[in-house]
């Protein structure tokens, strides 16, 4: 039975068979630019296109797959930064909610540090990004550290899953 999971649920490894695991592992890069890409996957996996589509749909419904899509090189199609704030403990929920409400914020985590709220902001331009950071500072009355990347030694090349 398919159920829609919240992102916090963990999918037991035993619930994923060999086909699921290959779908998760093998196509994180170089997804086929072919009119029928899922048929191309199916051919590699020795199953039908319908089965590939059904499995991927299930994996997405379970929360194992975010999407099949693109990760962009930073600062080519827009501007992004990592921002940090030191939020008083009793205000974390409220401030985090405010931060997450911006469509420009795509990651937002509470971390173990005096600077306890860390989020990534991405916008079409540097001006828009700075406006978002400024607005968050004004609305929360807390300083926001702006830590844009200066050099990338390793970009997101996919996530190596180990099943053991």
């Amino acid at each position: 039975m398919t159920h829609t999971a919240t992102p916090q649920d963990t999918i037991p490894a035993a619930a994923l068979d060999a086909l699921d695991r290959r779908l998760l592992d093998d196509f994180q890069r170089d997804f086929p630019l072919h009119p029928r890409p899922f048929a191309a996957l199916a051919e590699q996996l020795g199953v039908s296109e319908a089965e590939v589509l059904e499995r991927l749909g299930d994996l997405q419904a379970q929360g194992a797959i975010s999407r099949i899509g693109a990760v962009l090189t930073p600062h080519r199609a827009g501007w992004s930064t990592l921002a940090a704030m030191a939020v008083p403990t009793d205000e974390v929920d409220e401030v985090a909610e405010l931060v997450s409400s911006y469509p420009e914020v795509n990651h937002n985590y509470e971390r173990e540090h005096e600077l306890n709220l860390w989020f990534v902001v991405t916008a079409p331009s540097r001006e828009r990004l700075e406006a978002v950071l400024g607005e968050i500072e004004t609305r929360t009355r807390l300083p926001v550290l702006d830590l844009p990347l200066l050099d990338a030694y390793r970009l997101d090349l996919g996530f190596a899953l180990s099943w053991s």
């Binding site: 029928r36 899922f38 929360g63 173990e112």
Partner: protein
Amino acid sequence: MELNDLDRRLIAAIQDGLPMTSRPYAAIGERIGLGEAEVIAGLRRLIDHAVIKRFGVIVRHRALGYRANAMVVWDVPDDRVADSGRRLAELRFVTLCYRRPRWLPVWPYNLFCMIHGRDRATVEALVDQASAATELDDLPRAVLFSRRQFKQRGARYVPTPQEAA
């Protein structure tokens, strides 16, 4: 490569992912008034010019049991940071590795990486391994485990119509 209007429309059209249908590029094209072949050629161009650095299945590692993640940071002298960053990036369990500015006095760290694991102890062991392997042991470091995830999704480079409204 300078992005043109068509590139931006294409990036916007795929930022929520490909539809899981037999001909997803045709479906994307229908939304933005392009043919299937034009969508494929446009994506090919964005990939060839490294505007798109990865195109494929994007997994949710937390849902797959990688419950612990730490942002590990060091204060590395500026003349050593590029070398340390490159060495750190070679470790297979390091998923991202960047240099970022310090923000003195509250934030003295300039080298950042992400390490994920199934539990905290695993990540702690990997952090020690990374520090030792890259001769960063003698430098100030902080390990910022995540406590709660409030939001995690793909970046929005272009507002979707309802967000722009």
